[in-house]
Symmetry: C2
Subunit: 218 residues, 2 copies
DNA sequence: TATTTTGTAAATGTTGACAAAATACAGATA
DNA sequence: TATCTGTATTTTGTCAACATTTACAAAATA
């Protein structure tokens, strides 16, 4: 019959578990993480932990110095580096999405925009709004149908979320971005790749400016 | 004192070893690779092999289907996907290199151009010329001083070399590219970031056209 | 004959034990 | 005081044994 849920292997569980703890700042940036410490904390052996650590090193959420592994301690320069890449890649995603998006994803895109607007007007919590924001960007990347780009954007997104949590904390902007999102979505929905790309460039640049503003006043 | 060479851990050795065998097409695209097969072949246990496999999965040289791992079997669509990303990222590298390159790297850049010219006029072997080509692109990326970009370009380069070996074999172009390289280098050396970026865009587009030509006639 | 069950081989998943290496620290020496 | 050096401790590196999963073939059953 059905319904038999195959549990994930431990190294995948460990990867997600540690990633979540990192995003929730349960570990301090710069802190050393040892295999045995994590193994004991998650109640499994060091083998799967090693694999999870290797994955998080690849994601850039952990960094290696010699043989030891530490929690990534981002600087504002790291934000600039990441956004330089993001500013090139994500507009490519918007461009391709305008050409390749499926009808199903068009529907989803409209829903995300609508849900975001109502969440904003209902003043729902930051977590909900941040989640919708992520969904918006993720859907566009997925709609590009470029597997290489999707892989790169996954790396960028994880690191971006982490750096935002570490460097900005709960500070965030809530009002302006919906207009920018709608401009991007409209362009994609009518298949205007140039406008979609430019709208995404503008959106990312505004986002980085907001980073700078918040970072300055801290 | 000096000269004490610390041998690398097995999983790093295994990573490089398997990567080399993949680039040399010792394994066929689409072939399944098992941990025990590789462990026996390299004469080490499965543990380090597992880690090496995970790294090669991240590089995209191996792919996972269910629990099993196979040698990446690239299509021309994969080339397009990769070049779409490369066309955005590597020109960014040239742009940044024009602003941030050190005097030391300027010297190296000139040397690479000179060596390439003499290698071409002496009709040296393809391997030597391909190596100088890689050095040229790598040096520019390094000179961007953007660590995130360097990481992405490392992924792009490995996959690019692999796909070239698999899909094009020994076919390559030898004459034209030195002029394009010199145009890029000149712009970087005088700090003209716009010209450096555009020259790199043009270079990559010509490269992709060459791919298409060679691929068509096969 | 069709279907289900059982058996078997091959692959990955997981662990704990031990080896090797790096690190921290105390005490000796200049 | 500063530095060297040996030692204890911690951490990563490596392995081999065992467990689990999967796919497929063979056998039993309806």
């Amino acid at each position: 019959m059905s319904g038999i849920i195959k549990s994930e292997p431990f190294h995948i569980q460990a990867y997600k578990n540690i990633q979540r703890r990192l995003l929730e700042k349960e570990f301090s940036p710069g802190e050393q993480l040892t295999e045995s410490f994590l193994a004991k904390k998650l109640g499994i052996s060091r083998g799967p932990i090693r694999e999870a650590i290797r994955m998080l090193l690849h994601d850039g959420l952990l960094v290696q110095s010699g043989v030891h592994v530490f929690v990534f301690d981002p600087t504002f320069e790291d934000v600039i580096d990441l956004y330089s890449c993001r500013e090139r890649l994500e507009p490519l995603g918007a461009n391709l999405a305008a050409q390749n998006i499926t009808e199903e994803n068009k529907q989803k895109l409209k829903e995300i925009i609508d849900n975001t607007e109502s969440a904003l007007s209902n003043k729902e919590d930051n977590h909900k709004i941040a989640s919708l924001n992520t969904d918006f960007h993720d859907l566009i990347t997925q709609s590009s149908m470029n597997r290489q780009l999707i892989q790169f954007m996954n790396l960028i997104r994880a690191k971006n979320i982490y750096m935002r949590n570490v460097l900005l904390g709960d500070f965030t902007r809530k009002e302006k971005f919906i207009d920018e999102h709608r401009r991007i979505a409209d362009a994609i929905l009518v298949g205007n790749k140039y406008e979609a790309e430019q709208a995404m460039v503008d959106h990312i640049q505004v986002d980085l400016e907001t980073w700078k503003d918040i970072y300055k006043q801290k």
